[in-house]
Subunit: 765 residues, 2 copies
Amino acid sequence: MKQYLKMDEWNIIEEGFDEDNNEVSEGIFSIGNGYMGQRANFEEIYSGKSLKGNYMAGVYYPDKTRVGWWKNGYPEYFAKVLNSTNWIGIDISIDGEILDLAKCEVKDFVRTLNMKEGYLSRSFVAKLPSGKQVKVDAKRFVSITLKEIGAIKYSITPVNFEGELSILSYLDGDVKNEDSNYDEKFWDEVSKQCDEDGSSLIIKTKKLDFHVCSAMKLDIVKDGKKVDYNHVFIKAEKYVGNSVTLTVKQNEEIVMYKYVCNVTSRDYEIEELLEVCNKNLEKACLKGFETLLKDQAHAWGEKWKQSDIVIEGDVSAQQAIRFNIFQLNQTYTGEDDRLNIGPKGFTGEKYGGGTYWDTEAYCIPFYLSTADTSISRNLLIYRYKQLGKAKENARKLGFTKGALYPMVTMNGEECHNEWEITFEEIHRNGAIAHGIYNYVNYTGDKSYLGQYGLEVLVEISRFWEERVSFAPSKGKYVMLGVTGPNEYENNSNNNWYTNRIACWTLEYTSKVIDYLKNNEDQRYLELAQILGLKEEEISKWQDIIKNMYYPVDAELGIFLQQDGYMDKEQILVKDLDPKHLPLNQKWSWDRILRSCFIKQADVLQGLYFLQDEYDLDTIRRNFEFYEPRTVHESSLSPCVHSILASKLGNQEKAYEMYLRTARLDLDNYNDDTKDGCHITSMAGSWMSIVEGFGGMRVEDGKLILNPFIPEKWGSFSFKIMFRGNLLKVNIKKHKVIITSENKKLITLSVNGKDYTTENEIEVLS
Amino acid sequence: MKQYLKMDEWNIIEEGFDEDNNEVSEGIFSIGNGYMGQRANFEEIYSGKSLKGNYMAGVYYPDKTRVGWWKNGYPEYFAKVLNSTNWIGIDISIDGEILDLAKCEVKDFVRTLNMKEGYLSRSFVAKLPSGKQVKVDAKRFVSITLKEIGAIKYSITPVNFEGELSILSYLDGDVKNEDSNYDEKFWDEVSKQCDEDGSSLIIKTKKLDFHVCSAMKLDIVKDGKKVDYNHVFIKAEKYVGNSVTLTVKQNEEIVMYKYVCNVTSRDYEIEELLEVCNKNLEKACLKGFETLLKDQAHAWGEKWKQSDIVIEGDVSAQQAIRFNIFQLNQTYTGEDDRLNIGPKGFTGEKYGGGTYWDTEAYCIPFYLSTADTSISRNLLIYRYKQLGKAKENARKLGFTKGALYPMVTMNGEECHNEWEITFEEIHRNGAIAHGIYNYVNYTGDKSYLGQYGLEVLVEISRFWEERVSFAPSKGKYVMLGVTGPNEYENNSNNNWYTNRIACWTLEYTSKVIDYLKNNEDQRYLELAQILGLKEEEISKWQDIIKNMYYPVDAELGIFLQQDGYMDKEQILVKDLDPKHLPLNQKWSWDRILRSCFIKQADVLQGLYFLQDEYDLDTIRRNFEFYEPRTVHESSLSPCVHSILASKLGNQEKAYEMYLRTARLDLDNYNDDTKDGCHITSMAGSWMSIVEGFGGMRVEDGKLILNPFIPEKWGSFSFKIMFRGNLLKVNIKKHKVIITSENKKLITLSVNGKDYTTENEIEVLS
């Protein structure tokens, strides 16, 4: 944990340059627009520690799986989000001396992520080894109105000299992934142009043939006027650059505008890439940097209108939640139904940019409430489209029926290769089913069930049916050899959460079947035919539901995380010398495995998902048992605890866990932000406020709020979209005001009482 | 499974050349002398499938650990037995055309491993693409009288032509390991010589600085006379070669003798390597090939006198057991106490040549009975010397005391990196303790206990003490998160075998402490001081012994392999469609894990080790339960089953399991012999006959025999060394004859009755 960023309600601010923070900042200050994104690398060359990252959504590489000891069933490849053409590059030299912050004395360094308007800026004065000082102001963004466009304003002012200033602006496709095996590079050059007519570069991936075309245009402005200059054109392997050399005077500001367009073969025919790219670039240049930036600010304003959370009296909490919402909106916009949400978004390579169960368990609730319904629907359809591959995956592992969705995927194929995760962390299948429930429950869009939902539910149910086995010794169905959400247990038997979510899937699938039988009988018959659905299997599911074994500790009145959990030595985290934390850095794996310590909510994850099924006392007993044993070494853990603590009235714990989830990256809690931000858990931060402090849930189509306000806060408000209504929920110390921002009639329940309005409700509390 | 070798009592014979069998044959026909060894690669160049292997015992490489996902506690390196200088190379060309069996028509091919005399021979007629036919007879061995010497006789006869014959004889250090990461080569050249004064090459490993010096001398003989010839000297990177070109006539035999000496920096100072090497080579050349070979045959004769097993009426069984004994004696001679027995010996790279628990569990019984006591004592001392590293290893994994011996090691450090094995397969510690018991019980050498044994026993006991935990839920000690001998279960709780061998260690250590207190009180006090041994810990051990939890199925009257084993679907191997076998090639890992199928004896391994503690009915119930669930996909499994089946009077099963262990490689049972032979399990084949069919055991210092004879056999006999006696045990259909070959007085028990003799006992049965 390290706090070096300045507190501010709308900005993330780094003041002063510390090389040791650079990689962390590169992650935190990342910018993106759902279509492309990048880490906050410097424009100019930097020889210090840096993880370079420019990413195009959906462009990945199936790198050969690397493993010490092969196990049957491992996937052939591990997909990697691709570091793509570096299009921000602007190298500066002054009288031949290179501007490289690693080799300069850096003064007045400020890096800012302006979340309100959606841009990254940086300014500093660098003293070069020669003693020459240069002032730089850089600003850049990836447009959310013209998604293929990125723009940079890079201004240079000689502070104490006059001389020759060279500016080399380039597109560099000769880049690599840090996580590539054998240091292999993944790109080949297709073509390039670099002359009077323009600069562009097309590269393609060595496998899968993704083409990325980038084109750039440059303007140089002095005294508010465009300067005509002599280009020097530079071409190299997978590289094009334009170099300009100007004689500059002391205190004379030179501004370079760099406009770039990036298009890919995911959206266009290969032959038209260059033409489209140049056309879009032309359009952007016509607008010019300042207009583009104004559009950007306006568009971000619209986003904030739908999704902002305002907290009074707690800058740290305010900054954190805006950062979380901002990064989520930068990562995924829902416009492209082939895409999903990688755990690191555009902020790093880790986890390969693949899709995890995080999407259903954490992100869907966020997008349900803060964006158009079509966005979360697209996330569900993403899985629907991959059903065939999920069935193949189950076959590969020896199942004769059903679908097992992969732990990590780009295109539906599994691409993770730890047996205890890949093969055993099958609860993900349940989360995917639960995502469907969540969507339908929130939106009321039951049409989804007949259209797409049932097929997925039936195939997942079939998987569970085959995955459980009947243990005559217990007279019950059991599920052996699984890893639950708590990955600090592997290959355990009867993980309560997995058993429960499996049966819940069978229950929900059965309900959906009944619903369709009764309401869409024609479609149901059609689906039954397509799926070869038989009454016997439905009744087999009922048998499993009735006779599933659940481990419990009757005396404590709790569900047991898995068989034998109480055989472990029971120690609480608070009684552990802090020098042992984080366990995953301090302890050997076997020690972690046989300890009682929990990486992330497991039983509690189930109680969160299915909270309507359990009374408060049950939730409390389990919370009070498991929370003190949980080390939260997964980013996905604190939010679930925060929400349940809110529900249980434990406001202090709820607030503590909120800060932990919301400031996870800003304060680098787990010392891993240099790899990138924890994007998917940011949705959990949002949930902690809206579902936790706000007590929001939907029951039988009705929106329910049971809010409280953390002691430290003066007030807070959040926006939610609910069935066509855009609601602002404003919670003050003794009052809750709910405003329908689009003046639509709504009935909702606040603190157990129903209210109907098309304007504003004020509830004293 | 594939049978292509000819049955013969003393030889392994391959007739006819089939490229597809070559790598398997390279493993099976391997030769070695404990000091060095090699796969049966061809002398001449061969472009077909081949795994090159020349190994110098104890020369290894700490290759960087390769792993997909790093876990805390993994070792930094995975040790690899090194493919070293290829010293057998003799390339042949005829009028410029290269002799390469992959490109010739091969006739009359015969490869023979003469086990009686200890050499490898090969003969064939090759028709080259040009139509020229050449007859080759090659014979080679690594000397067991001059262990640094290898010698080759390579004879070439033109069948249907006359022309220019070139013979290029070389030493090539530019070799690689197939299992190297990133195709890296592990050797650097130090120096070389190749001129009138001789040919030699010194190379050294890139890490650890092992130097290997090889020197060669050549003689060419025609018509029984040495030929003077013109050398061409060839030098290249890590390579020296002598080329000779002769004009040859049809049917004129040219014989090349190649003598090589290999010495390493393990035995000599680096500066003296070359001198020693040349001196030894000189000595060998003076003797000449035929004399060296005669010495070899004689020395092997002596080995056979001590260790031969003769089977009448079953060539297949006879050939197999001799092959097993031969390979064991080729692998380990016990002369160098820094060495141990790699699972593949000198026959392949797999398993990195490291030391496993195989040594204690399987090999020590063999060497105890077939070699001087000092040999098995050296194997124990090997572990004693590594006690410090085993303690470090325990510390690395977070234990505050005790020693955990590594799963795989070269020098005492762990070098395996699968968490479920490295961290969890801790029963190995028990086998190492049991090895001490076994040695003392067999030899009566109690001096070992005070000298070395107790220190190891106490540190292992301390490990067990810390590794168990008390489960209030059970009121018992439990052991969580282990992998038993059956590696088809991982991270299981209360593996019966591990719990038992842990408690057995505590029991035995306590007994040894009592013995020393009573018999070597001074040494005991000294040891107690060195070890900081306290009465409290000894009484803590008693508490653990008394209160250890053992999973059982009371109804079936069996020990349960681990908690929850009976929750698995119970299927027998015989009811499994054979298309599923071997499981490790056909099933995904998760499917294997949650099935009831057993890779190798687990509970039965414990009942074998501790058979004196369990009555026959208990052994029978467990055998009858577990054997039908065991797939024997570990080479170490069938022998234990064979021995127990013998004990239970199930002769048919005992014989079936004997063939499975003894012919495992010859018949390539598990389709993996191309990687090399299963050396350590070969000791299990020997045990199957001596301890199984022969019913040999030692109780309270007395040798006990309870033999039976497999139906198919006319008679069988084996030799055992027992406390200074060399006994021949000859079992005929209705008679057992025991002869003291060195005429020493012995009292032993046969079929429950005691006999004393210094000559011969005949017992009717």
